[in-house]
């Protein structure tokens, strides 16, 4: 087998997705912190961005992250009814429908974008979520933006 084939196969096997997680300051960021302090193991493919509330999330943040090469996006907020600002997560829930539609219309699989509720006490849930999302994105392969950049 040619050396290039071997390297190509290896590169395919070693695809490590980049997942951007927007976490709300009050619940999900604390949940992610708890996962760390509780020594839960989870993949290092995640890049956490702390925001004050998911209600603050502008849809363009998701679209811009994807267009800059992110393979997956997680938006994590407080459970419904637990929002520090009363209704930020409800706002996000509504907005998320349109974000998914927009992502799909660009030609990106909507499974790459997820909205999850993680509270400050759910370190285990956070670790499990990251593991699951990483596997899911790995199965989907690189984002079309990354794929086209590599094929240049």
């Amino acid at each position: 087998m040619a050396r290039q084939d071997i390297l190509g196969e290896k590169a395919k096997e070693e695809f490590e997705p980049v997942i951007v997680a927007y976490c709300c300051n009050w619940c999900s960021y604390a949940g992610a912190d708890l996962a760390g302090t509780s020594r839960f193991e989870y993949p290092t493919n995640i890049r956490i961005v702390r925001i004050m509330c998911t209600g603050r999330m502008d849809p363009t943040l998701v679209l811009e992250a994807l267009s800059m090469g992110a393979d997956g996006i997680i938006i994590a907020g407080c459970h419904p009814g637990d929002c520090h600002y009363q209704k930020g997560n409800y706002m996000m829930e509504k907005r998320f429908e349109y974000i998914k539609k927009a992502v799909e219309s660009i030609g990106i699989e909507p499974e790459r974008v997820r909205l999850e509720w993680v509270s400050a006490s759910e370190g285990g849930k956070w670790a499990a979520l990251i593991r699951e999302m990483t596997e899911q994105v790995k199965a989907l392969g690189p984002s079309p933006f990354r794929a086209t950049a590599n094929s240049k």
């Binding site: 502008d58 849809p59 363009t60 679209l63 811009e64 994807l66 267009s67 209704k87 409800y90 706002m91 509504k94 907005r95 429908e97 349109y98 539609k101 927009a102 219309s105 660009i106 030609g107 079309p144 933006f145 086209t148 950049a149 094929s151 240049k152």
Partner: protein, 114 residues
């Protein structure tokens, strides 16, 4: 830049622009508070506005990049139908976002203003 990448980039830029537009932000914002119309009807309206805004951003993007252009040229660049483009041009002209900029082969040329 490959054609596929260029197309993807153009579409995503247009979608980002659409989400920055006042029109889409306003209706999306309304959907977060109590709406006194049927939810399904409202969602359909937001969907159609989103669709329109993305197409309009595509047209504006093409004009900014390679304008002034005729409807036919915009159609070739964006992949949208001429009849759809004409409808958007009427709306965009009304908003003052684009303007006529002479003629070419007996067709109006359009340029992006804002």
């Amino acid at each position: 830049m490959s054609e596929k990448k260029e197309k993807l980039k153009r579409k995503s830029d247009a979608t980002i622009d659409a989400f920055k537009s006042q029109r889409l932000r306003w209706v999306m914002g309304r959907s977060q508070i109590k709406v006194e119309v049927e939810e399904d009807k409202y969602k359909k309206a937001v969907d159609s506005i989103m669709h329109d805004e993305v197409e309009r951003s595509l047209i504006k993007g093409a004009l900014k990049e390679k304008g002034p252009l005729t409807v036919e040229e915009i159609s070739q660049l964006t992949g949208l139908q001429s009849s759809v483009i004409v409808q958007h041009i009427i709306a965009l002209r009304k908003n003052g976002a684009i303007a006529e900029a002479g003629e070419k082969n007996r067709q109006y040329l359009y340029t992006c203003v804002s």
